[in-house]
Subunit: 324 residues, 2 copies
């Protein structure tokens, strides 16, 4: 359904994507049964493969070499997967997109080391590319992402935070890796510095919009659609954009505090979600997301016409409207 719609955006690049999918499967092949099973579980749970598609599309604006592009794409998707495994350790989540998580099936220790392993695999994949700038960019990106993960814990259950804190957090959590996906795809194809810059900013703005929509969906979707309880962000102690708008609202505050201290009942969770949905906060958050999408689109518009540009614009439009 929704997923199929997204795939149709990828139609022109289906062959490239399935090549990368195969490389991904190969790269996590291991003689250790635990590693192999854990990685396959993750791979099958799928996801939208947005990082690989951003790498592929950005590479089209330079001298396209599928071999190098695949190495970068595989590496970035593996880093994303590794961070999901580590996130599962963090959030005590037993399901992700309806699939059992690595952590639930084995335990926190295995999940941590499986994440480390997948992460090392990513380095091996990108290690074959002999461009120092690529390694430096990847290392800097990962450093910022890791910083973000710790900062996210520092802010957990803190009600005293600003919009700026939130934006900085989602930049590190999501936008940076998407931005670097575009930048690396363009870099590795020797695109001009100007083009690299535009694609990098496209990825950043699209990533900010993507995460804001994610945070909205955590409130507006059903448990079934999410594969986890709606409102999980709050239950896990994270204030997101919609809830930041109403965090000082006296009618919302009791919900917020009970979410954070773990005493919210199932009935109260339903009431809380309805309250947020009707508060106007969702619409405000949607506007911020739309603003980022507009910025993303503006970066791409001046690039040369073609299939890649069309696909980037369609993805941007899609990210704003997605319902999953």
């Amino acid at each position: 359904m929704e997923k199929l719609k997204l795939m149709s955006l990828y139609a022109d690049f289906r062959k490239d994507l399935s090549f990368i999918e195969k490389e991904l499967e190969q790269s996590i092949d291991s003689s250790s049964p635990v590693i192999r099973q854990a990685s396959l579980l993750l791979l099958r749970a799928g996801g939208k493969r947005i990082r690989p598609i951003f790498v592929i599309l950005s590479s089209q604006f330079g001298e396209y070499s599928m071999e190098n592009v695949a190495k970068v794409a595989v590496s970035l998707e593996l880093i994303h997967m590794a961070s999901l495994v580590h996130d599962d350790v963090i959030d005590d989540s037993d399901f992700r997109r309806g699939f059992e998580t690595v952590k639930a099936r084995w335990n926190n220790r295995i999940a941590m080391y499986a994440g480390d392993y997948i992460f090392s695999r990513a380095l091996v994949s990108i290690g074959e590319i002999e461009m120092p700038a690529v390694h430096q960019l990847l290392a800097e990106t990962m450093l910022e992402i890791c910083k973000g993960e710790i900062i996210q814990i520092e802010y957990q259950q803190q009600t005293n935070q600003s919009f700026r804190d939130y934006l900085r957090r989602i930049k590190r959590k999501t936008a940076l890796l998407l931005s670097s996906s575009c930048e690396l795809g363009a870099l590795v194809s020797n695109a001009t510095p100007e083009t690299v810059g535009k694609l990098k900013r496209f990825g950043y703005f699209a990533g900010m919009a993507f995460q804001i929509v994610d945070d909205i969906l955590d409130i507006t979707s059903t448990d079934e659609q999410l594969g986890k309880p709606a409102g999980s962000d709050l239950l896990n102690g994270h204030l997101t954009l919609p809830t930041l708008y109403i965090k000082d609202d006296p009618e919302f505050q009791p919900f917020l505090l009970r979410s954070f201290d773990g005493s919210l009942t199932e009935e109260e969770r339903g009431l809380m979600l309805t309250y947020i949905r009707k508060s106007g906060a969702i619409e405000k958050a949607q506007q911020v997301s739309n603003m980022y999408l507009k910025k993303a689109i503006a970066e791409v518009e001046s690039l040369p016409d073609g299939e890649a540009k069309r696909a980037l614009l369609q993805i941007a439009a899609f990210l704003g409207k997605r319902k999953f």
Copy 2:
């Protein structure tokens, strides 16, 4: 005391080492108080800085450039530190060398992410070196180490394992990173392939001996010397070389099984340690360690004479006799 003796081996390279120590401190400086404090705690807990010293000494057999050597040395020590933080999550250890661990002071989540962060810092440090072979070697090394960490869990509490299983495990746990420290130090200084090979093997053999001695000390030292209970390896479900020799001994078996299932009393722990110490297993393990040390020394003997060669030989001799 013992530590001072080791430092005296480093005397000729003290300036280089203190330069690296400063770079290490700078590299973990962060605006996040949790990251900064966690990393500083680790840094202060110290350790023997064997990886940096191996990098420095190996670099002396090529065209020595302190700037590059320091980047490699800092990177390898950070990787070692990151793996210690992740090990603490695993072993539920609250103290390491008598210092509170990152995990105990904060929690498992923070420890995992602090490890990830320090690890990314390592990549940033080495990322500045524009030699593809360096990045490939580091990535492959880390992949093997991560594999080893998962395999170590797979073998946990398994009594049915061979000497080969043990040797493969300590190779990944310790010898590989020491081997790569030597190899990278030589590579980054453009030493000849023959010299690179000798140093790489020296690091590997010395690393095997080092870990075997570590595993012996876990049995022969006092709780105070170790900063954790003697026999911790067994209590954590790990069979090491000395205990492999007697694992099927009917008098030892009850100790082994009770260590693994967590029912060993403090009194029994004392009896068990005495039993192992008197069994002859320690001496057999010591012989294997000595065999590796001889191999390590043989690799270095054909290298050109000088301060670096002398220091490598002294370190090898020291590793065999160390009491901490």
